[in-house]
Assembly symmetry: C2
């Protein structure tokens, strides 16, 4: 059967291959990109879904508007207002997880051969999603303060990209957070070069101490003409439940309209049952307590992982302690002749009973083979300490 040529642009994910090994008994996994199931507010979600079915069974079970279930759009606009973002309910589209926002951006904007700038490293499924639409990805370097804006400007001038995709806050996999100063610079670049910037923000609410700088979209009020070049993707997946598949996208009106048209032919609309449940959950006011809880638990795990890494691996690894999100991003230094290739390290780690993801696949171009990603989200403190001790033996 002859498949479409666009499929030639993607390979089977190296990570998927790795995941096949996870079934081995006794393996502690630091490989996943998902939140801890034990933290889901099952009671709250159960009440919310019951209320949705009692109060609005038609709305929750019938076909709905492609743009999204109205009560949820209203709740999401309020949720965004709490984060300093001014958006009306009709300024956003509800998406089937924020993965669908990426797909709609690809479908709406990318012609084969178009350049798109992403961070190096960036979210793996973004790379594959955009490549399926034929994007030629340009990789913008990232340091501990996020994307390096001077290089980014040179790349904008050289490549005239269709758009720029960033995870500015607690990036996946980098864990890095774009500084406030650089955020302003990115907004100025968007306005000056009239280039669309997509801000993917699934982790922004998962901070451990001080909140991160405001989102690009919140800061856009300070940079004239920048808002019209901004897209914001939000998600309930990391803070409430990925299984709902409820994300959303804020975009300039012309783009939003095209994205809604594309969504109509992608899945008609996001599950109204899930949307009505999320709307009732937000309306019930349970989100602040849920956020407090997940922040506290993840902060403790991140602290434990950082201390264990320093203790067990010493100068064999370099990393910046994350201030939020779900991930450590680390680099094998090769100090003392120790292993420097993260693929090799991952194999040895599996033998010792720990799984994690090597960093190379997260780079659209020029992979750094010494990097790797550790998730502290799903193992508890005791398991994390045991896992890092095993990594110490593997290194």
């Amino acid at each position: 059967m002859p498949f479409a040529k666009r499929l030639d642009n993607v390979e089977t994910s190296a990570i998927r291959e790795l995941f096949k090994l996870l079934g081995k008994p006794g393996i502690i996994s630091l490989a996943g990109g998902f939140p801890d199931s034990a933290m889901f507010d099952v009671t709250g979600l159960s009440q919310a879904s019951q209320r949705a079915l009692q109060e609005e069974p038609g709305g929750a079970l019938q076909y709905g508007a492609t743009e999204g279930f109205e009560p949820l759009r209203t709740q999401l606009a309020q949720f965004m207002a709490g984060k300093g973002i001014d958006v009306r309910p009709d300024g956003l589209v509800v998406t089937t997880g924020s993965q669908q926002a990426l797909d709609l951006l690809g479908k709406t904007l990318i012609d084969p051969g178009d350049k798109v700038i992403v961070e190096g490293p960036t979210f793996l499924a973004t790379i594959q999603c955009f490549r399926l639409y034929g994007a030629d990805l340009v990789s913008a370097p990232v340091d501990e303060h996020g994307v390096m804006v001077d290089v980014l400007e040179q790349q904008i001038i050289e490549h005239k990209p269709k758009f720029i995709y960033l995870i500015p806050t607690f990036g996946n996999p980098s864990g890095a957070t774009l500084s406030r100063e650089r955020r302003i610079k990115v907004l100025e670049l968007a306005a000056r070069h009239q280039v669309l910037v997509v801000e993917d923000d699934p982790y922004g609410d998962l901070y451990f101490g001080e909140p991160p700088p405001p989102s690009l979209m919140a800061l856009s009020q300070q940079v004239p003409a920048s808002r019209e070049w901004l897209v914001y993707c939000g998600s309930m997946s990391k803070v409430l439940s990925p299984g709902l598949r409820v994300g959303w996208m804020v975009a300039p009106p012309a783009l939003l309209q095209k994205a809604v048209m594309c969504k109509q032919f992608s899945d008609a609309h996001t599950s109204t049952f899930a949307q009505a449940t999320a709307a009732q959950y937000l309306k019930a006011g349970r989100m602040p307590a849920t956020l407090d809880h997940v922040r506290t638990v993840y902060a403790e795990r991140a602290r434990a992982m950082g201390q264990a890494l320093a203790r067990e691996l010493g100068d064999a690894v370099a990393f910046t302690q994350p201030r939020g999100g779900l991930f450590f991003w680390a680099r094998l230094t090769g100090a003392g002749g120790k292993v420097k290739d993260a693929g090799e390290f991952a194999k040895r780690a599996i033998e010792q009973g720990v799984a994690f993801v090597p960093g190379a696949p997260f780079f659209a171009k020029d992979p750094d083979h010494s990097t790797f990603r550790l998730s502290f989200a799903t193992a508890d403190v005791q398991k994390i300490e045991e896992a890092i001790a095993r990594l110490g033996r593997a290194v």
Copy 2:
């Protein structure tokens, strides 16, 4: 903002424009393509969702496999077995409504310029979905016994299509059902010409008297080498609830694998919350009673609509009484100098307080402007009789 060229292939739907008029007070709508909310088994779905959250909160709220939630795949395989289709749970992928199955077929198979054969008329969102991927659609004529297979074979030979898309049972909008004899012929064509046939079957369970002929996929056992050229798309939307967005696709292994890869980057997976709810619902054994109920109610409405059409519009319209599904497909005959253009008729009908959809947009090529579609699903018998009386005044 320069959008992708693929967006030039679709126009704003004429139907969407019409839908804007539906808000007028007193309008009876026969325009929708959706089931009656009053028939949703709210109690059963409420119990199913509660059970899903109690028994498997992790599974129902966490990220899940792109292929689908295992307990639902198992239930769907059993559901299909009850319809004479032999498929293993890993032979199907759960999709976000069957609309997503269409999108995944487009993404997986269609290169710009590829020919795809669809029925004339066919489902509007199929036309737009495939065109977004650049398909050049060929329209195969349909009579009351479904697609005309002799013409279809000529079109296969002439156009060498990437695939053929059919709604063989209670078609939307045609209401037509492909005869058993023609089904066998279609399967022979698939095997002989090695051309993929997509069977979209959202309405097959909604029969009013005798069940329709078995699905193409069920009959494929009788036609050697035909099964490997068959795709089957199923949906919970018309029989249980569209708001769950739970559909599924059975396909040959190589195609299924590519579709799953594309789905990974489209929405990661279908809502596990909705999937776990659907799985519990099927497991609880409520589906047979639900199907009995909807069949009885829709049969009564279809009968009432047919009688009213004959009484109120006489020889001004021609139609075949549907034996299942949600739709009447009718043609203005122009007898006695009455209106023959369905667009004009739709405008007059709105003035009289009835909305329906003219048939022209359902044709990928060569629209028949005398046709129109009436849904009998959402208005009760009394409203249907009033609506058709108004159509009698409009004609």
